[in-house]
Symmetry: C5
Subunit: 155 residues, 5 copies
């Protein structure tokens, strides 16, 4: 039985955890899901680390939301490096889902990006639990989360 | 009884610690508060780490103030990464409050941002002490500190 | 017998691992190759570390693909720092191959860059396995991967 | 008796260590001062760490000088992160003084910035040696080093 | 007898190691020099760490070459942070020499920058081997590598 951690934020404008929980329940009905909600993206790394080390999660998915300013981008960079560091300190995957407010000026589209990205990365999480070659048949195939796949370039 | 650390700076132009102390005293009257004041944001990470490791704090809130230049932004990035690293080395939350001078050209508004952000993050600190699901009912709700909440997007 | 790890992504639009596998098989027919496919570049560092620590790889090559936006560049920076950190934590080389979508607006040229870069870095990997002076006769010679060599400047 | 480390550089155009030594001798006549001079800012972090770990310093002040180009700014960022990391690895303060050549186009003013900043941060160092609440009466007071204090905002 | 490590790259367009070897042989004829050549700057940090930990080097000099694009600058930043981290993990100096292609549009001048910088930093390396105060008489003197010294500002 897998233990799967979800970290999300109160800053986010879409409840992406709901989508992730749905996908996990449909695909891994026996998995135990542990949720941890923090204020914003800079609080995510330690929550992910605690889910792995204190709650015994096998893998974590983090659901961040990033504002439009340059300061927000620097926060994104710091947070991204923190999430990578959590993985290197635990040897566990932490799938880092982020939605950036500058990805679309249309709020409806932003919602669709968030939902699609969370759903597809939930599937990536499930694949990674099965081992490092599970996604290999899709390697180089131009898959995208939040947008339709762009596909491979012609070689 | 919780031990709560506050790190603030002499560079800041608003005494945000006063707000944080008020909120903690009103909500957690038995908590012990330990304050540590440093010159500027790059001095914050080690002070937060010392509060956790040498003073036994359960959680820390840091109150930074960031100037307007690009150099200040790089200092913000270095400091943010340091604060994330403190959390990963201690498995404790450090709520990182920062006010950026470029957030408003109006000094009165900047004061209001600082006070509102410090107060709301003091509440976030109290919530996180109660566990990782305390804030989950607000997940994806578009909460903001320093400004009014923007709320969730319609899905 | 060497164990060589390959990390690639489903985000990439060219199957660079195929090129790398060809070059290794031609030059080190007894090497064992272990492949690990992840969604995107921020997932690469932990996969590389797992290949070294859990699968016993002597060296790893990572095959990343980077989008055009500033956010993608920050992800590149975080990923690059992660890959360097993996090397410092394991004292093994991880050859970090990345193709950036802004390197060419012509898709055919981008494919050629990807193939050439993957192939030449596979050769660099093989050279580094033989020791730190193997590449010394090419030091300062202006070698390029993805493009033709520019050669040394006249001194 | 305190041991205080000073790291400075040959790149700097002002001998800031002289100012720092004066202030320490006037205020802590029994302190032992150990100086370590390196070429430039990227050499500073390890020198600070050696002063703490190999020479037993209780605290260190570093005196950096940063050029005008974007490359210099990235070196500043890397150096800042290194100095923060030294502090997290040793739980000692390292007061990071830097003068940026783009702070003034007037060389005389740049000299005044350097001298004022070094002097005021020497006082900050002395205060931090006395404990984390020594500077608390100045918290939020808008103190500046290199320039006159701007003072607190009206609340 | 000192052991001195040199890391250089095949990406570089000038054989800077030759200059460094000359200077070391002239000034420290008994030193043992160990060379390690890697493809590019992101491969430098682990090579420097291996020279210190596996080959027993007392100090290392790294000779990097950085392209003109923004991506190259991010690679420079990641590499710089890696080289600083190597120093903090080993408490040894790693003198980080880099030539940036945007330092001059004239190829002859770029060669002169590379040669001058490598030569002067070889002298810095020799000085640092003698202890942390060897360079103190030059502190604040505005020394430059790659260009003529600018000298101290008038105080």
């Amino acid at each position: 039985m897998y233990k799967i951690g979800i970290v999300d934020t109160t800053f986010s404008r879409v409840d992406m955890a709901k989508i992730v929980v749905e996908e996990i329940k449909n695909n891994l009905p026996n998995a135990r899901i542990i949720r941890y909600t923090v204020p914003g993206i800079k609080d995510i790394p330690v929550a992910a680390k605690k889910l792995i080390e204190e709650y015994g999660c096998d893998i974590v998915i983090t659901l961040g939301w990033v504002g439009k300013t340059q300061t927000d981008k620097y926060s994104y960079l710091a947070s991204s490096m923190g999430i990578i560091l959590v993985q290197l300190l635990t040897n566990k995957h932490v799938i880092d889902v982020t939605v950036h407010e500058d990805e679309s000026s249309d709020e409806k589209e932003l919602v669709q990006i968030a939902i699609d990205r969370a759903r597809k990365h939930a599937h990536n999480l499930i694949a990674l639990l099965k081992g490092g070659e599970t996604l290999s048949r899709w390697a180089g195939k131009g898959r995208r989360q939040g947008r339709p796949d762009v596909g491979p370039l012609e070689t």
